[in-house]
Amino acid sequence: MSLTDKDKAAVRAMWGKISKSADAIGADALGRMLVVYPQTKTYFSHWSDLSPNSAPVKNHGKNVMSGVALAVSKIDDLTSGLMALSEQHAFQLRVDPANFKILSHCILVVIASMFPKDFTPEAHVSMDKFFCGLSLALAEKYR
Protein backbone atom coordinates (compact mmCIF):
# COMPACT_ATOMS: atom_id res chain seq x y z
CA MET A 1 0.00 0.00 0.00
CA SER A 2 2.63 2.55 -1.03
CA LEU A 3 1.90 6.22 -1.58
CA THR A 4 0.89 7.13 -5.11
CA ASP A 5 1.60 10.56 -6.59
CA LYS A 6 -2.08 11.33 -5.94
CA ASP A 7 -1.66 10.40 -2.27
CA LYS A 8 1.46 12.56 -1.89
CA ALA A 9 -0.30 15.52 -3.48
CA ALA A 10 -3.30 15.01 -1.16
CA VAL A 11 -1.04 14.80 1.92
CA ARG A 12 0.87 17.94 0.92
CA ALA A 13 -2.40 19.78 0.27
CA MET A 14 -3.85 18.69 3.61
CA TRP A 15 -0.65 19.63 5.42
CA GLY A 16 -0.78 23.04 3.78
CA LYS A 17 -4.20 23.57 5.32
CA ILE A 18 -3.47 22.22 8.80
CA SER A 19 0.21 23.02 9.47
CA LYS A 20 -0.54 26.39 11.07
CA SER A 21 -2.52 24.51 13.70
CA ALA A 22 0.09 21.75 14.10
CA ASP A 23 0.84 22.54 17.76
CA ALA A 24 -2.85 22.51 18.68
CA ILE A 25 -3.44 19.30 16.75
CA GLY A 26 -0.51 17.59 18.45
CA ALA A 27 -1.57 18.66 21.92
CA ASP A 28 -5.19 17.56 21.35
CA ALA A 29 -4.21 14.23 19.75
CA LEU A 30 -1.74 13.32 22.47
CA GLY A 31 -4.05 14.48 25.25
CA ARG A 32 -6.96 12.46 23.99
CA MET A 33 -4.77 9.40 23.33
CA LEU A 34 -3.88 9.33 27.03
CA VAL A 35 -7.61 9.46 27.89
CA VAL A 36 -9.01 7.12 25.23
CA TYR A 37 -6.17 4.57 25.47
CA PRO A 38 -5.06 4.69 29.11
CA GLN A 39 -2.43 1.99 28.53
CA THR A 40 -0.39 4.61 26.65
CA LYS A 41 0.12 6.49 29.90
CA THR A 42 2.71 3.88 30.84
CA TYR A 43 5.21 5.65 28.60
CA PHE A 44 4.88 8.95 30.42
CA SER A 45 5.17 8.07 34.10
CA HIS A 46 7.97 10.64 34.33
CA TRP A 47 5.57 13.52 33.61
CA SER A 48 4.12 15.53 36.47
CA ASP A 49 0.79 16.07 34.72
CA LEU A 50 -0.85 13.80 32.12
CA SER A 51 -4.06 15.78 31.74
CA PRO A 52 -4.98 17.25 28.35
CA ASN A 53 -3.62 20.79 27.95
CA SER A 54 -0.96 20.30 30.62
CA ALA A 55 2.49 21.69 29.85
CA PRO A 56 4.22 18.34 29.23
CA VAL A 57 1.37 17.16 26.95
CA LYS A 58 1.35 20.40 24.94
CA ASN A 59 5.10 20.37 24.61
CA HIS A 60 5.27 16.77 23.53
CA GLY A 61 2.37 17.24 21.11
CA LYS A 62 4.54 19.87 19.43
CA ASN A 63 7.44 17.42 19.19
CA VAL A 64 5.25 14.76 17.64
CA MET A 65 3.91 17.15 15.02
CA SER A 66 7.40 18.33 14.04
CA GLY A 67 8.08 14.66 13.37
CA VAL A 68 4.98 14.62 11.15
CA ALA A 69 6.20 17.77 9.39
CA LEU A 70 9.54 16.10 8.77
CA ALA A 71 7.73 13.08 7.34
CA VAL A 72 5.72 15.30 4.97
CA SER A 73 8.95 16.88 3.73
CA LYS A 74 10.52 13.44 3.24
CA ILE A 75 7.41 11.82 1.82
CA ASP A 76 9.30 10.48 -1.19
CA ASP A 77 11.52 8.36 1.05
CA LEU A 78 10.06 8.00 4.53
CA THR A 79 12.44 5.20 5.54
CA SER A 80 15.64 7.22 5.16
CA GLY A 81 13.95 10.49 6.08
CA LEU A 82 12.85 9.13 9.47
CA MET A 83 15.94 6.98 10.12
CA ALA A 84 17.19 9.02 13.08
CA LEU A 85 13.74 9.07 14.69
CA SER A 86 13.41 5.35 14.12
CA GLU A 87 16.70 4.72 15.89
CA GLN A 88 15.56 6.88 18.78
CA HIS A 89 12.25 5.01 19.10
CA ALA A 90 13.89 1.61 18.70
CA PHE A 91 16.87 1.89 21.01
CA GLN A 92 15.98 4.57 23.51
CA LEU A 93 12.23 5.06 23.74
CA ARG A 94 11.27 1.47 22.90
CA VAL A 95 7.62 2.36 22.30
CA ASP A 96 5.68 -0.70 21.18
CA PRO A 97 4.95 0.00 17.48
CA ALA A 98 1.29 -0.94 18.01
CA ASN A 99 0.98 2.48 19.62
CA PHE A 100 1.89 4.28 16.38
CA LYS A 101 -1.47 3.17 14.98
CA ILE A 102 -3.22 4.44 18.10
CA LEU A 103 -1.67 7.91 17.95
CA SER A 104 -2.21 8.07 14.15
CA HIS A 105 -5.92 7.40 14.72
CA CYS A 106 -6.12 10.15 17.34
CA ILE A 107 -4.39 12.61 15.01
CA LEU A 108 -6.89 11.80 12.25
CA VAL A 109 -9.81 12.22 14.67
CA VAL A 110 -8.51 15.66 15.66
CA ILE A 111 -8.02 16.68 12.02
CA ALA A 112 -11.60 15.53 11.27
CA SER A 113 -12.96 17.53 14.19
CA MET A 114 -10.98 20.68 13.33
CA PHE A 115 -11.23 20.55 9.53
CA PRO A 116 -14.47 18.67 8.78
CA LYS A 117 -14.92 20.17 5.31
CA ASP A 118 -11.35 19.48 4.21
CA PHE A 119 -11.08 15.97 5.64
CA THR A 120 -13.04 14.38 2.81
CA PRO A 121 -12.96 10.60 2.30
CA GLU A 122 -10.35 11.09 -0.45
CA ALA A 123 -8.16 13.17 1.84
CA HIS A 124 -8.75 10.60 4.60
CA VAL A 125 -7.53 7.60 2.59
CA SER A 126 -4.31 9.39 1.58
CA MET A 127 -3.65 10.62 5.12
CA ASP A 128 -4.34 7.16 6.53
CA LYS A 129 -1.88 5.63 4.05
CA PHE A 130 0.65 8.34 4.93
CA PHE A 131 0.45 7.62 8.64
CA CYS A 132 0.76 3.89 7.93
CA GLY A 133 3.94 4.62 5.94
CA LEU A 134 5.21 6.95 8.65
CA SER A 135 4.59 4.31 11.33
CA LEU A 136 6.35 1.67 9.25
CA ALA A 137 9.37 3.92 8.74
CA LEU A 138 9.42 4.70 12.46
CA ALA A 139 9.50 0.98 13.25
CA GLU A 140 12.22 0.26 10.67
CA LYS A 141 15.14 -0.07 13.12
CA TYR A 142 13.30 -2.07 15.80
CA ARG A 143 14.64 -5.47 14.77
Binding site: R32, V110, T120, P121, E122
Partner: protein
Amino acid sequence: MVEWTDFERATIQDIFSKMDYEVVGPAALSRCLIVYPWTQRYFGNFGNLYNAAAIMGNPMVAKHGTTILNSLERGVKNMDNIKETYAELSKLHSEKLRVDPDNFKLLSDCLTIVVAAQLGKAFTGEVQAAFQKFMAVVVSSLGRQYY
Protein backbone atom coordinates in the same frame (compact mmCIF):
# COMPACT_ATOMS: atom_id res chain seq x y z
CA MET B 1 -21.36 -7.74 31.76
CA VAL B 2 -20.20 -4.31 30.63
CA GLU B 3 -20.13 -1.61 33.30
CA TRP B 4 -21.17 1.81 32.07
CA THR B 5 -20.56 5.02 34.02
CA ASP B 6 -23.31 7.65 34.12
CA PHE B 7 -21.16 9.82 31.90
CA GLU B 8 -20.78 7.06 29.32
CA ARG B 9 -24.52 6.30 29.24
CA ALA B 10 -25.44 9.97 28.94
CA THR B 11 -22.81 10.58 26.26
CA ILE B 12 -23.97 7.68 24.08
CA GLN B 13 -27.64 8.64 24.40
CA ASP B 14 -26.78 12.24 23.64
CA ILE B 15 -24.68 11.53 20.55
CA PHE B 16 -27.24 9.21 18.96
CA SER B 17 -30.30 11.27 19.86
CA LYS B 18 -28.84 14.24 18.01
CA MET B 19 -27.68 12.19 15.04
CA ASP B 20 -29.31 12.21 11.61
CA TYR B 21 -28.97 8.53 10.69
CA GLU B 22 -29.65 9.29 7.03
CA VAL B 23 -26.61 11.56 6.93
CA VAL B 24 -24.19 9.84 9.26
CA GLY B 25 -24.91 6.27 8.10
CA PRO B 26 -24.21 6.88 4.41
CA ALA B 27 -21.22 9.08 5.29
CA ALA B 28 -19.63 6.41 7.49
CA LEU B 29 -20.23 3.49 5.12
CA SER B 30 -19.08 5.36 2.02
CA ARG B 31 -15.99 6.58 3.88
CA CYS B 32 -15.22 2.98 4.85
CA LEU B 33 -15.56 1.77 1.24
CA ILE B 34 -13.23 4.58 0.10
CA VAL B 35 -10.61 4.52 2.86
CA TYR B 36 -10.49 0.70 3.05
CA PRO B 37 -11.37 -0.34 -0.51
CA TRP B 38 -11.09 -4.06 0.20
CA THR B 39 -14.33 -3.74 2.18
CA GLN B 40 -16.05 -3.37 -1.21
CA ARG B 41 -15.77 -7.15 -1.57
CA TYR B 42 -19.01 -7.50 0.38
CA PHE B 43 -21.01 -5.21 -1.87
CA GLY B 44 -20.58 -6.79 -5.29
CA ASN B 45 -24.24 -6.26 -6.12
CA PHE B 46 -24.30 -2.57 -5.18
CA GLY B 47 -23.45 -1.42 -8.70
CA ASN B 48 -21.04 1.44 -9.33
CA LEU B 49 -18.32 1.65 -6.66
CA TYR B 50 -15.55 2.60 -9.10
CA ASN B 51 -14.45 5.82 -7.45
CA ALA B 52 -15.11 8.01 -4.44
CA ALA B 53 -17.74 10.12 -6.22
CA ALA B 54 -19.61 7.01 -7.39
CA ILE B 55 -19.53 5.52 -3.89
CA MET B 56 -20.75 8.70 -2.25
CA GLY B 57 -23.58 9.03 -4.78
CA ASN B 58 -24.60 5.36 -4.72
CA PRO B 59 -28.18 4.99 -3.40
CA MET B 60 -27.64 1.39 -2.25
CA VAL B 61 -24.66 2.49 -0.15
CA ALA B 62 -26.75 5.28 1.33
CA LYS B 63 -29.63 2.93 2.16
CA HIS B 64 -27.35 0.39 3.75
CA GLY B 65 -25.56 3.07 5.77
CA THR B 66 -28.89 4.13 7.23
CA THR B 67 -29.76 0.49 7.97
CA ILE B 68 -26.51 0.11 9.91
CA LEU B 69 -27.19 3.19 12.03
CA ASN B 70 -30.74 2.04 12.78
CA SER B 71 -29.24 -1.21 13.93
CA LEU B 72 -26.73 0.60 16.15
CA GLU B 73 -29.66 2.33 17.78
CA ARG B 74 -30.79 -1.01 19.14
CA GLY B 75 -27.53 -1.23 21.03
CA VAL B 76 -27.99 2.35 22.25
CA LYS B 77 -31.44 1.42 23.59
CA ASN B 78 -30.15 -1.79 25.20
CA MET B 79 -26.75 -0.84 26.57
CA ASP B 80 -26.99 -3.41 29.35
CA ASN B 81 -27.76 -6.21 26.94
CA ILE B 82 -25.67 -5.57 23.85
CA LYS B 83 -24.41 -9.14 23.54
CA GLU B 84 -27.93 -10.55 23.24
CA THR B 85 -29.11 -7.63 21.11
CA TYR B 86 -26.66 -8.55 18.35
CA ALA B 87 -26.68 -12.35 18.64
CA GLU B 88 -28.85 -12.79 15.54
CA LEU B 89 -26.92 -10.22 13.51
CA SER B 90 -23.67 -11.90 14.52
CA LYS B 91 -24.92 -15.19 13.14
CA LEU B 92 -26.07 -13.44 9.98
CA HIS B 93 -22.72 -11.74 9.41
CA SER B 94 -20.74 -14.92 10.05
CA GLU B 95 -22.84 -17.66 8.48
CA LYS B 96 -24.66 -15.93 5.67
CA LEU B 97 -22.70 -12.77 4.82
CA ARG B 98 -19.28 -14.24 5.71
CA VAL B 99 -17.84 -10.85 6.70
CA ASP B 100 -14.33 -10.90 8.17
CA PRO B 101 -14.90 -9.44 11.66
CA ASP B 102 -11.86 -7.15 11.25
CA ASN B 103 -14.13 -5.10 9.00
CA PHE B 104 -16.39 -4.17 11.91
CA LYS B 105 -13.50 -2.24 13.46
CA LEU B 106 -12.75 -0.49 10.17
CA LEU B 107 -16.35 0.70 9.86
CA SER B 108 -16.34 1.69 13.53
CA ASP B 109 -13.22 3.84 13.00
CA CYS B 110 -14.87 5.58 10.04
CA LEU B 111 -18.00 6.22 12.10
CA THR B 112 -15.81 7.74 14.84
CA ILE B 113 -14.23 10.08 12.29
CA VAL B 114 -17.66 11.12 10.93
CA VAL B 115 -18.97 11.81 14.45
CA ALA B 116 -15.79 13.78 15.26
CA ALA B 117 -16.33 15.89 12.13
CA GLN B 118 -19.95 16.54 13.16
CA LEU B 119 -19.29 17.39 16.82
CA GLY B 120 -16.04 19.32 16.40
CA LYS B 121 -14.79 20.68 19.72
CA ALA B 122 -17.56 18.84 21.56
CA PHE B 123 -15.88 15.55 20.65
CA THR B 124 -13.51 15.69 23.62
CA GLY B 125 -11.20 12.87 24.67
CA GLU B 126 -13.73 11.72 27.26
CA VAL B 127 -16.56 11.69 24.71
CA GLN B 128 -14.34 9.82 22.24
CA ALA B 129 -13.47 7.26 24.93
CA ALA B 130 -17.16 6.64 25.68
CA PHE B 131 -18.06 6.40 22.00
CA GLN B 132 -15.20 4.04 21.19
CA LYS B 133 -16.05 1.88 24.23
CA PHE B 134 -19.65 1.54 23.01
CA MET B 135 -18.51 0.70 19.49
CA ALA B 136 -15.97 -1.82 20.82
CA VAL B 137 -18.73 -3.63 22.72
CA VAL B 138 -20.94 -3.70 19.61
CA VAL B 139 -18.05 -4.92 17.46
CA SER B 140 -17.23 -7.62 19.99
CA SER B 141 -20.87 -8.78 20.10
CA LEU B 142 -21.02 -8.95 16.32
CA GLY B 143 -17.93 -11.13 16.31
CA ARG B 144 -19.18 -13.57 18.96
CA GLN B 145 -20.98 -16.11 16.79
CA TYR B 146 -18.01 -16.78 14.51
CA TYR B 147 -16.45 -20.22 14.74
